[in-house]
């Protein structure tokens, strides 16, 4: 759905207004940034269950006899190692290794000779990703790439009580194992259940027909999930150091610099592999590191990082951690400063705030 402002609305727009959401423009969509408050929503996800509307995310279907070979060529990770019913995180890179997007690919059972995959991509990149997939597919026989973004709404049910909440609304089907997916009926609606998320908590993501989204949303809220919005999604992911495209990832950065070598199958050939292999062997000038403030202040995207009075990097994400109650962030810094325990200074609008390089994740359960 699209409005006079040119912003798209998800099928849950009215639910958001009813729940008291503050709506903001985000990647071409009118999305909730908070309901009652970022901190309350954040804590609900860490201690119980939160429900996010992530219908703005894009979905690309790749199918055909050579669909697996195509995705192995296009993506840094190796989807060939994933069985039908599995899911895998990967980067999409240019030839020079610059990151076009980070994404999750879900593998389905083959239909006849056709392998089938669904890739969930960031809303801000959905159009350009689809173009990239389609152009790359031109050199590949036996692959069809289909933009399925309009066919799916997506909800994320996250938190230690997420599966309990889900169980109250699950009519049929099983809860998939971690990084797996399966078909189920939730609140009377057929749904693809995926055991994935972006919060560091257990939970599921639900992909479904947009027409059924309000019913499922209401059923999950009635079953005990608290609506949570983009503000909390950002603080939750940052506490566990999941990168955000546009902040921590861009075409100017590679997965190796971003600390995502684990998602790069460097033993196969793929778009960007040459550069990434060279970086993996020779090292990079800068690395993305998580850090915590050791004193007051809140780091923000774009703040300069200093070391010994010299320019030493840039903050790409920053916030006040609701769980740790201290400023946290991620920054690209000179590789020599990337060791955990290294002291840094972050220049926050002219004030020098002391910070220390830490380890991922910044927030660990039970600490």
């Amino acid at each position: 759905m699209s409005t006079a402002t040119g912003l798209k609305r998800t099928p849950l727009y009215d639910e958001h207004l009813r729940a008291g959401a503050r709506m903001v423009p985000f990647a071409g969509w009118e999305m909730p940034v908070q309901y009652e408050g970022v901190r309350q929503e954040h804590v609900a996800v860490r201690t119980a269950a939160g429900l996010f509307d992530v219908s703005h995310m894009g979905e690309v279907e790749t199918r055909g006899p050579r669909a697996a070979a195509f995705l192995r060529h296009l993506l840094t990770n190796d989807i060939g190692k994933v069985e039908p019913g599995g899911a895998q995180y990967s980067l999409l890179c240019r030839e020079d290794g610059g990151v076009l997007d980070d994404l999750f690919t879900y593998r389905f059972a083959p239909a006849g000779e056709d392998d089938r995959f669904l890739t969930v991509v960031n809303a801000s990149n959905a159009e350009s990703d689809f173009d990239w997939f389609r152009r790359q597919a031109e050199d590949f026989d036996g692959v069809e790439v289909i933009d399925r973004s309009a066919d799916y709404a997506m909800l994320a049910l996250q938190g230690p009580a997420a599966l309990e909440v889900l169980a109250r609304t699950l009519d049929s089907g099983d809860v998939p194992g971690r990084f797996h997916h399966g078909e189920a009926t939730v609140a009377g609606r057929p749904t693809l259940l995926c055991r994935t998320g972006y919060t560091g908590e257990d939970g599921v993501e639900l992909l479904l027909d947009p027409a059924g989204a309000p019913d499922i949303w209401r059923a999950l809220v009635a079953a005990g999930a608290r609506p949570a919005a983009l503000g909390a999604r950002d603080t939750l992911r940052l506490e566990v150091c999941y990168p955000l495209y546009g902040n921590d990832l861009s075409t100017e950065r590679t997965p190796i610099e971003a600390g995502l070598k684990w998602a790069c199958a460097l033993d196969k050939d793929f778009v960007g592999a040459e550069r990434l292999r060279a970086q993996a062997e020779q090292g990079t000038d800068e690395l993305l590191v998580p850090f915590v403030f050791t004193g007051p202040g809140i780091p923000r995207q774009g703040c300069r990082v200093l070391s010994g009075g010299e320019e030493a990097g840039t903050v790409t994400s920053g916030t006040l951690s609701p769980c740790l109650d201290v400023g946290i962030g991620m920054a690209y810094v000179s590789a020599r400063l990337a060791q955990p325990g290294t002291d840094l200074i972050v220049d926050v609008r002219g004030k020098e705030r002391p910070a220390r390089v830490s380890t991922k994740p910044l927030y660990k359960k039970g600490e």
Binding site: R22, Q34, E36, G37, V38, R39, G231, L320
Partner: protein
């Protein structure tokens, strides 16, 4: 819509207002400053207050402090000129006081005014409220 812990919307009649959503309670040569209900609501839960030091000179219409929510930073504008004589340490310790009680416990600084006649430039509660409704 407000945080669960927020006060109800109000603009007390005994205060003067700056259009940048700041208030002043003038008592002779001194005044207390803070941000209005509207400002704290727009910002969301305040999680950090970066105050000026006591003794700092501040100028009407210019920023003198910052308040931050999880998502955003906001400059706090001085409604009047003067010298900071006290800072609300309680807000440094518990920034959400600004949301809970923006006009009393959530005050930000006390100031010795350098030009009390500047108050002629400020808005009454009635004029400030009218301005808010015309912005909507």
């Amino acid at each position: 819509m407000a945080d669960a812990s927020s006060a109800a919307e109000s603009y007390p009649d005994d205060l003067l207002y700056h259009p940048e959503h700041d208030w002043a309670r003038i008592e002779g040569e001194e005044a207390t400053f803070g941000i209005t209900w509207y400002a704290q609501d727009a910002l969301g839960e305040v999680v950090f207050f970066d105050p000026p030091d006591a003794g700092t000179s501040i100028a009407a219409g210019k920023p003198y402090a910052e308040v931050e929510s999880v998502k955003a930073v906001s400059d706090v504008i001085a409604p009047l000129s003067g010298e900071v004589t006290a800072v609300n340490e309680a807000v440094s310790e518990t920034p959400e006081l600004v949301n809970e009680d923006p006009y009393d416990a959530g005050w930000l600084v006390r100031v010795r005014l350098s030009d009390p006649s500047e108050k002629e430039q400020l808005l009454s509660a009635e004029d400030y409220r009218a301005r808010l409704s015309s912005e909507d």
